[in-house]
């Protein structure tokens, strides 16, 4: 986070007003729309900023986009329509939640896949381990007749020595 701030510092060199958190006033007649506005503004990325959503960014373009979202919400557009409009203009880059499509299959399904793989590996490890130990145990307990005789003899001599 130090570095994020350092980076922000570099943006600062270019424009000095960027830093102040974007606090604007957007009025809605309907609290439900205000909630949707906040959610959309949080999940869309400001196309020209370092790594900020349009809710937090104070760049001109983010302001424009906030106003645009507000207008579209007031015009009773659905969230879908608003997002589609943004993607059409600025590409997939504006989506903080990338769409599920062939290029992002690995991104979306990868974690689940790794998890399943990991658990399978655990099962395999435990199984093979148990097998080896069973074998060792069996080998230990099943001495051949001659071996057990030899063992007895050894034990006996040991005892006699004492």
């Amino acid at each position: 986070m130090l570095k994020i701030k350092v980076l922000i510092g570099f943006i600062l060199l270019l424009s000095s007003f960027l830093l102040s958190a974007a606090i604007d006033v957007y009025q809605f007649d309907d609290p439900e729309k205000e909630g949707r506005f906040q959610k959309l503004a949080f999940e869309l990325r400001c196309p020209k900023c370092q790594n900020q959503n349009i809710a937090d960014s104070n760049a001109e373009i983010a302001k424009d986009l906030r106003t645009k979202i507000q207008q579209m919400l007031i015009a009773d557009k659905s969230d879908m329509e608003i997002v589609d409009y943004m993607v059409e203009r600025y590409g997939d880059f504006v989506l903080y939640e990338p769409r599920v499509k062939p290029q992002t299959y690995l991104l979306w399904y990868g974690p689940a896949l790794f998890l399943v793989l990991g658990l399978i590996i655990i099962i395999l490890i435990i199984r093979s381990r148990n097998k080896t130990y069973q074998q060792i145990n069996e080998n230990e307990s099943s001495l051949s007749d001659s071996e057990s005789e030899a063992l007895h003899a050894l034990l006996k001599t040991n005892q006699e020595k004492k």
Partner: protein
């Protein structure tokens, strides 16, 4: 003169670390005791010269020596002294110097506190740290020296430090974080030394474990501090942004957490040895990767102001050598490492493996999400962003499932536990947690909420299983106080850390569900109601700081008519660069924060845009982080480690 001494000390430190990298290592390979015994004095010498170098830079900052480029770029004569000094690590060159300085500090610590370590092991560990130091100090000298001068003419005053960084957060956050990052180099060096010597026994795990736990605790504290800092300083009220820079610190922490657990199994039971080694290698490699991602600017190339290809390339080479070298060594040597004992399906070993799989998958997910945009871009498939909605969607289910396993793991013994015993122990905590989780949203919120139900149940599950198990320990004990003392510190450390996870989870659940915020226009006398609190705007006045001028608002907060607090958020303009800064004011509390930030003046200053937040349980996030770190540190205070250190068997040394 002083900066030149600093540069010169850095050069001497480079030579010492190069010698440290070669001589003791060669001595260990040829069983030459004299050569091995050079390790300690070299470690001390290296630290001494890094210290001199560091002090020289600090001196240049404190004396406002603006002929030094780095000082001129990151300081200003008006800045208060504490920020002048912490500006040492306010930029690239200084952060790297801090990195290398802390590395020499860890090297010194290993050489001082490892009296029970066999000489050849110590020699190898210190040598590996010497190799890393050689890489980083040459990086500093070749591409990023903080001691370069503006000659012959230099600016009269400095360009000032970014106002965001002129804060208490800068003083504590980076050193903590770096202590963690760099601390993993010790775990890494121990792993490499083990691979080289083939010695990987309980004693090795014990040595390695205390160092790893300390590093892990520092990293956790660093991340926690960073989150807290971002929360109060950025003025957005957010506490985690899934920004690449944050992810860079989260990845080593996740792998480090896995390592801490895996090491426990290796120490206690002699299992998962090769896996432990691999985790140690990856924890440090991810620390380096983080440094690379942040310093090279590849991830922020949208506007590539900060990137410097030469520096990025250098770190990438360091990373390639570290990972390539260590993994090659691992590939050759690890197959010889054999684990020693057996365990059944329901045993702590298996649950630790499950824990490791979850943590590793989480780390891989963060890596995937962080690098995916680069990957897609490199393949020419367009530009995409991966942000908070993705990480939340993937992380929350994995974390939830892992928390369930956490609860089971404390009730399960090493080797083998019967299913009946586990069920007997766990049914009550399970019932209580689910019940409380069901009821909670009705009492606290307005009605049932599935996320809150899951979050609260799972957190209470983690806490209640730990407590049940703790109480169970006293069932057959004769005396409460004797048993209390008998339990090892590492057990208390585990309890504390696990409760910390639950506390953080409760914080995350509640603050992300029940937070309220409003952006509104306020003129003098206006008031706004939020979550039962009334915020009354009483106008602004101008205040002067040491190097800024601010509009300070006065906002009185009432709760059902009774006075709660007066908040003074500020809008600052810093004198040098004319930056505007929002300085939020917060009324912090254990169960809720009231957070007010000033936006832009509207209608020529008659009114202001104001953002008010109500943040329930947000403190719990950081409280949990602190508990986890304390837990990690407590483990190190365990008798076992103290004994092993106090043992007088220093025959080699």
């Amino acid at each position: 003169m002083i900066p030149e001494i600093g540069e010169f000390a850095l050069i001497i430190a480079l030579f010492l670390s190069a010698v440290l990298a070669l001589v003791p290592m060669y001595g260990a390979a040829t069983v030459n005791e004299l050569w091995m015994s050079y390790a300690k004095p070299l470690a001390k010498g290296q630290f001494l010269f890094m210290l001199i170098s560091f002090i020289c830079l600090g001196y240049a900052f404190s004396q406002d020596d603006f002929s030094v480029i780095y000082v001129a770029q990151h300081s200003n004569s008006q800045m208060p002294i504490q920020f002048k000094l912490s500006a040492i690590w306010g930029g690239h060159e200084g952060s790297l110097l801090l990195w290398a300085f802390i590395l020499s500090g860890w090297t010194l610590a290993v050489s001082l506190f490892s009296r029970s370590l066999p000489l050849d092991m110590l020699a190898r560990v210190l040598s590996v740290m010497g190799i890393i130091a050689t890489g980083f100090i040459s990086f500093l000298l070749v591409t990023s020296s903080p001691f370069l001068r503006y000659l012959p003419s230099f600016p009269e005053d400095g360009a000032d430090l970014n106002p965001l960084l002129q804060d208490f957060g800068l003083i504590v956050h980076p050193p903590m974080l770096y202590m963690g990052y760099v601390g993993f180099s010790v775990a890494f060096s121990f792993a490499i030394a083990a691979l080289l010597s083939g010695r990987l026994d309980t004693a090795w795990a014990r040595w390695s474990r205390s160092w790893t736990n300390i590093a892990w605790a520092f990293l956790g504290l660093g991340i926690t501090l960073g989150s807290w800092w971002a929360y109060y300083e950025l003025g957005w009220g957010g506490w985690w942004f899934w920004d690449p820079v944050e992810n860079a610190s989260l990845m080593p922490w996740l792998v480090g957490t896995a390592l801490v657990h895996s090491l426990a199994a290796t120490e206690k039971r002699g299992v998962f040895k090769s896996w432990t080694l691999l985790l140690a290698i990856f924890a440090f490699s991810l620390s380096l990767l983080g440094t690379f991602l942040v310093r090279s600017g590849v991830l922020t190339s949208v506007h590539a102001f900060a990137s410097d290809p030469e520096r990025g390339f250098f770190i990438l080479m360091l990373l390639a050598i570290t990972m390539g070298g260590s993994l090659t060594l691992y590939a050759f040597k690890a197959p010889n490492v054999k684990s020693e004992s057996n365990f059944s399906w329901l045993s702590r070993e298996v649950l630790l493996l499950v824990n490791n799989v979850f943590l590793t998958v989480m780390a891989v997910t963060v890596l995937l999400g962080t690098l995916y945009p680069l990957l897609i871009d490199a393949l020419g498939a367009g530009k995409i962003s991966v942000g908070p909605p993705y990480f939340n969607a993937v992380f929350v289910p994995i974390m939830g499932t892992m928390a369930v396993a956490m609860g089971i793991s404390v009730a399960v013994r090493w080797r083998e536990t019967s299913t009946k015993v586990v069920i007997d122990k766990l049914w009550l905590p399970a019932a209580i947690s689910i019940l409380c989780g069901l009821i909670f949203p009705f009492f606290y919120g307005s009605g049932f909420d599935f996320r809150v139900f899951i979050g609260i149940s799972v957190s209470l599950w983690v806490i209640s299983t730990v407590i049940t198990e703790f109480i169970g320990k006293f069932r057959n004990a004769q005396s409460f106080s004797i048993k209390l003392k008998q339990l090892p510190f590492s057990y208390y450390g585990m309890m504390l850390a696990h409760i910390g996870v639950a506390v953080t989870a409760i914080g995350i659940t509640l603050v992300s569900t029940y937070s309220e915020e409003r952006d509104i226009r306020m003129a003098k006398g206006d008031s706004v109601e939020l979550a039962g609190y009334q915020f009354i705007f009483q106008g602004t006045h101008v205040v002067k700081g040491p190097n800024y001028v601010a509009d300070q608002a006065t906002i009185e907060v009432l709760e059902s008519g009774t006075f709660v607090v007066t908040l003074h958020p500020e809008k600052r303009r810093y004198n040098v660069k004319r930056n505007m800064m929002t300085e939020a004011d917060i009324d912090a509390g254990l169960f809720r924060d009231l957070y007010v930030a000033l936006g832009e003046p509207l209608n020529n200053g008659e009114a202001w845009a104001v953002r008010v937040h109500y943040k329930p349980y947000v403190r719990w996030l950081w409280l949990g982080g602190i508990l986890m770190a304390l837990g990690g540190l407590l483990t190190v205070a365990d008798k076992r480690y103290r004994q092993s250190k106090a043992e007088p068997e220093d025959a080699y040394v």
